[in-house]
């Protein structure tokens, strides 16, 4: 088991390096000129300024050298300076990462609860009307453009009904709790500031739900398929033959083996959520990595883009490790092989 994890870690590191390479290549071998994008009007008329810019950022050096310099910097924890904020990218990420993590965690927990729950129900009531209804809903969920749902949700729930706040992590008059994790809900709770906690939670609901729509659809369908496949197995029939109550059969004998595939999908779903944040954070003014990624891409802020890419890669690796760990916990066959 340990060897298995170490091997995955190794693959993960290779992936990380690979991602830096890919990000580097994509953002450097492009027609777009970062100098023009960042200097704007000045760039067009003033060659000296352009030259200075290029020299300052090492853009006039040969590419492979630029890459090696970049890698060296990385290892020292230096991700460069963002051209938009003129701060170290690391600091930018420090600000934005917790916001996105909080949103993504909220969304994935919600998705798992609703998605797996609906999937179980759909499997139990297979082919009956409840199953069909759930099926249509999930198909709807994975077919809706997330930016459109966000718009509709924003319009209906905030604009027209005023039930929930329409943006930001807190009300404009409130100040964030003292920084412990960066997750406002957790920090507020840890400090006993329950009003703040409530507000942070309220602000999470709308963007979180919007993010969750696609994931719920995905998880429901997968849970249903997984469970149906397992239900066809002899050992499930054997459990019934023993006279065990149906809920025991479903939860203990069917759901547990199904969890292996469900967790795999949950991992993919979480990655999906991260991409969803790009769109959702824009609409709900959520100061997170998604918004940062978008602005960086638009402005061809190379250090920022690469910083975001690394963050994403890191999340992906950690996620995979967690998933692999969970496999071992749930399915002893993996642990023992």
């Amino acid at each position: 088991m340990r060897r298995f994890l170490l091997r995955r870690l190794g693959t993960g590191l290779v992936l990380l390096v690979g991602i830096t390479l890919v990000a580097f290549v994509v953002t450097h071998l492009v027609p777009g000129d970062p100098a023009a994008a960042n200097l704007g009007q000045r760039a067009i008329g003033d060659p000296a300024a352009v030259q200075a810019f290029r020299h300052q950022y090492g853009l006039d050096r040969p590419l492979p050298l630029q890459y090696l310099i970049y890698l060296g910097d990385l290892l020292r924890g230096n991700l460069g300076i963002s051209e938009q904020s003129h701060r170290p990218v690391v600091d930018d990420l420090n600000d934005f990462v917790p916001a996105t993590i909080e949103l993504a965690l909220f969304a994935i927990v919600l998705s798992l609860l609703i998605g797996v729950g609906l999937g179980i129900v759909a499997a139990i009531y297979r082919d009956r009307w409840l199953d069909q209804v759930i099926r249509v809903f999930t198909l709807l969920g994975v077919s809706m453009p997330i930016f459109w749902i966000a718009l509709v949700a924003f319009f209906v729930v905030f604009f027209k009904l005023g039930w929930l706040p329409g943006g930001g992590r807190l009300d404009p008059t409130q100040t964030a709790p003292a920084h412990l994790t960066g997750l406002y809900t957790v920090d507020a709770a840890l400090h006993g500031q329950w009003a703040l906690f409530g507000s942070a939670l309220k602000h999470l609901v709308l963007p979180g739900l919007v993010l969750a729509v696609y994931t719920v659809g995905m998880l429901t369908r997968f849970t249903r398929a997984s469970m149906l496949e397992i239900m066809g197995n002899d050992y499930v029939r054997a459990a019934r033959l023993k006279g065990l109550p149906e809920h025991v059969v479903v939860l203990k004998h069917v759901l547990r083996p199904a969890l292996v595939s469900i967790i795999t999908v949950a991992g993919v779903a979480f990655a999906n959520l991260l991409s969803g944040t790009v769109l959702v954070e824009e609409i709900f003014a959520w100061p997170g990595v998604g918004q940062y990624a978008y602005k960086s891409a638009i402005n061809l802020d190379l250090p920022a883009i690469m910083g975001v890419s690394l963050f994403v890669a890191l999340v992906y690796i950690v996620l995979n490790l967690i998933v692999d760990l969970l496999y071992g916990v749930i399915d002893p066959r993996i642990r023992l092989s």
Binding site: N233, Y235, A238, R240, L241, G243, V248, R256, I330, R333
Partner: protein, 339 residues
């Protein structure tokens, strides 16, 4: 003595693309406590459906009629809740493939104790003790360690023993073994059969062994029912049935078997039975068994029967008592008097 299990005119119809087709047609048999009944037949003969109907676990949409009485209590028509108190507790089943039937990610201990506690209401500690005893009974070495192991860590033969232990955990009165040895090596089969035989005697339990293997029948069953296309073809004491079969199908099955001199098992087959055929060519039954929905009219066996007469195509044979306990569903009775 009142029979432990009495099945009368059991009919199971399954929904197919061409409407409802009978998988089991007018089956009747009884089983006494402490006896081993064999149900013989090829795949598709309705054996497994018969077994599943005892538990009320037929595929959804199945229509069942007839009567199944366990200890004089009628099982057909009982609600799920009541059936659950019977499954595992009064009747238990050992399925064909132990690898598929034992849950791969639950420990052997869990598999043994979960329904034990549910049916018998014993405490966790006592359940564990009983589980260890059960593993001992089925001759699994180091029961304490086995309880914490997973089925995948055992060999095929041991898995079947564990499956048997699981079936016994709630102390059922009747054990149904569906092809208990088919998935196992020949060398292991004998051990399993001996185990079943011993358990039956020690616990005064009734056992139904379902198999296509007549050798298994002769080794362990006292009486045999032969099924063909969902109907009863012939039934009687094993020794008599195998030595002097009266139904052409049973005869055909025996003729198709390679004959080796075998010393009599619990079935007590007399040694003369093995004399006749050693060295003679194998004679398979021509054609193949009908699939669901393709059952011929009249006697279902008549297209493949070398003794068929005109009436066989139209009249459905009803099991008639020949003498003592020998039932035969073949009105022409062409093998009467044959040796």
């Amino acid at each position: 003595m009142a029979a432990l299990l009495r099945v009368e005119h059991l009919t199971v119809a399954l929904p197919t693309r061409r409407g409802y087709q009978k998988a089991v047609d007018d089956m009747s048999f009884t089983v006494e406590a402490g006896e081993v009944l064999g149900i013989a037949g090829e795949s598709g003969s309705g054996k497994t459906m018969t077994a599943l109907s005892l538990f009320g676990l037929l595929p959804s949409g199945a229509k069942v009629s007839g009567s199944i009485r366990l200890n004089e209590m009628e099982l057909l028509g009982l609600g799920n809740r009541q059936l659950r108190t019977i499954r595992g507790r009064q009747i238990a089943m050992v399925s064909q493939d132990p690898t598929a039937a034992l849950h791969p990610i639950l420990t052997v201990g869990t598999l043994l104790t979960e329904h034990m506690r549910y049916h018998l209401g014993v405490s966790k500690e006592e359940a564990v003790e009983r589980a260890k005893d059960l593993l001992d009974t089925v001759r699994i070495p180091d029961p304490a360690r086995a309880l914490h192991s997973y089925p995948g860590q055992f060999s095929g033969g041991m898995r079947q023993r564990i499956a048997i232990a699981v079936a016994l955990a709630a102390e059922p009165r009747l054990l149904v073994a569906d092809e208990p040895t088919t998935a196992l090596d020949v060398t292991v089969q004998a051990g399993i059969l001996r185990l079943l035989d011993r358990l039956c005697r020690e616990r005064d339990m009734a056992v139904i062994v379902i198999t296509h293997d007549l050798g298994v029948m002769s080794a362990i069953a006292q009486r045999v029912c032969v099924m063909y296309a969902g109907r009863l073809a012939e039934a009687g004491p094993t020794s008599e049935l195998l030595a002097r079969p009266r139904h052409p199908y049973t005869r055909g099955l025996l003729d198709a078997l390679p004959r080796l001199p075998v010393s009599g098992g619990a079935g007590g087959r007399p040694p003369e039975a093995s004399r006749a055929r050693t060295g003679a060519p194998l004679v398979p039954i021509g054609g193949s068994p009908p699939s669901l929905g393709d059952v011929p009219a009249g006697c279902p066996f008549h297209p493949r029967c070398t003794y068929a007469v005109a009436s066989c195509e139209t009249d459905q044979p009803v099991p008639l008592l020949l003498d003592g306990q020998h039932l035969l569903a073949c009105p022409p009775d062409p093998l009467a008097g044959a040796g």
